[in-house]
């Protein structure tokens, strides 16, 4: 029987490359975010609005993961020079070597913040260290108030939870108390903010970014 490295070794290799990424990003003074959320929760739209709002204030680069198409990369490139699209075929998450390769195409020393927009998925991206400073979990009200309880690993791993599409609250069944209670039960230390990208209400997110930027 053909032999392959055991799964633990795959994760160990991922961790080793992630440590290299972290060292280089730290040396360049870049605060790095691994942004994780469902398909369609508004990750790309939030980043488009962020790049516009922060223009001239903070230098932000984006690495964007996707199975197919360069749509997200193209959307973001309209707002920022430092965008790299990572197409990973059928994979459900980014790994640190893909981030390392993409990082090499961006002048890190120019950046204040690097956002890695992970593949739309609440599960597998949680388990892979990319070298980020923090993981941020993003949900939207149209997904329902039960999502933190159903995806506790993401909530537990996140430093910040962003709840998007509050503009849809009048039109969907969503109990804010249930959502908030579950988030805080799973991760009492996590910060929770609400935004509506569609209505341009992203100030809590911009404030958080300003606080986190290292220079």
């Amino acid at each position: 029987m053909k032999q392959v490295p055991i799964v633990e070794n795959v994760l160990k290799l991922n961790d080793e490359v992630a440590a290299m990424n972290r060292r280089d990003l730290e040396a360049a003074g870049v605060f790095t975010i691994d942004l994780i959320g469902s398909p369609g929760c508004g990750k790309t739209a939030l980043l488009e609005a962020t790049l516009e709002a922060m223009r001239g204030e903070l230098a932000i680069g984006v690495l964007v993961g996707d199975l197919a198409t360069t749509r997200d990369g193209d959307r973001l490139a309209a707002h920022c020079d430092d965008v790299v699209q990572i197409n990973n075929g059928r994979s459900c998450h980014l790994e640190s070597h893909q981030v390392r390769s993409a990082m090499s195409k961006i002048p890190l020393e120019k950046l204040d913040i690097l956002v890695i927009e992970n593949v739309g998925n609440l599960i597998c991206p949680v388990g892979f260290d990319l070298g980020q400073d923090v993981k941020v979990g993003m949900f939207s009200v149209s997904e329902g108030d039960d999502k933190p309880a159903k995806h506790p690993h993401l909530v537990a791993a996140a430093e910040l939870i962003v709840l998007n599409k509050t503009d849809l609250l009048p039109y969907v069944r969503f109990d804010r108390d249930v959502f908030t209670r579950d988030v805080k039960r799973i991760n009492p230390g996590v910060e929770l903010i609400e935004v509506s990208v569609q209505n341009g209400q992203i100030d809590p997110w911009l404030c958080w970014l300003r606080k986190k930027a290292k220079r």
Copy 2:
């Protein structure tokens, strides 16, 4: 170094157990659906409404996959006796052996239709045969019109695409033509129906189920 079976063998084993599932389901005259969609696209809500609408007409069983919690199983069990919850920890998809184990807890010969509600994820579930007759891909308008193009493998593998939350069309940016064109480009033979579970408009789905039930 410790040795583990190669990944191809894992998929081969999955396929072998899937074939056993398919044989048993076929023998019992059960039409089996692998329902795949994002977290929050409305899979559980659609099944709740379906179980109510079909009561006394078609006997429907449900196997429901989730990382944690028995919420979906509990929701569905209120409408139907033949529900089995599969909690799979950190895994992003169901595998055929989990379905086989869950199947054994349901009297298959009583059923017309078995729906396997996969873990909320557009990616990994596509690659695993569970023994189903068809895979059904589910999207919702709040996820955006670009999701078929970004998840072509699901669209290509599906016999039916269900677009949910049409009630939100007035409140979100969603171009039906873009969505439909991408679906048909990727899979010209696929059937595409629209529903609004929240507004109780699920007739196209019920018609499709009636057509597919084997007896």
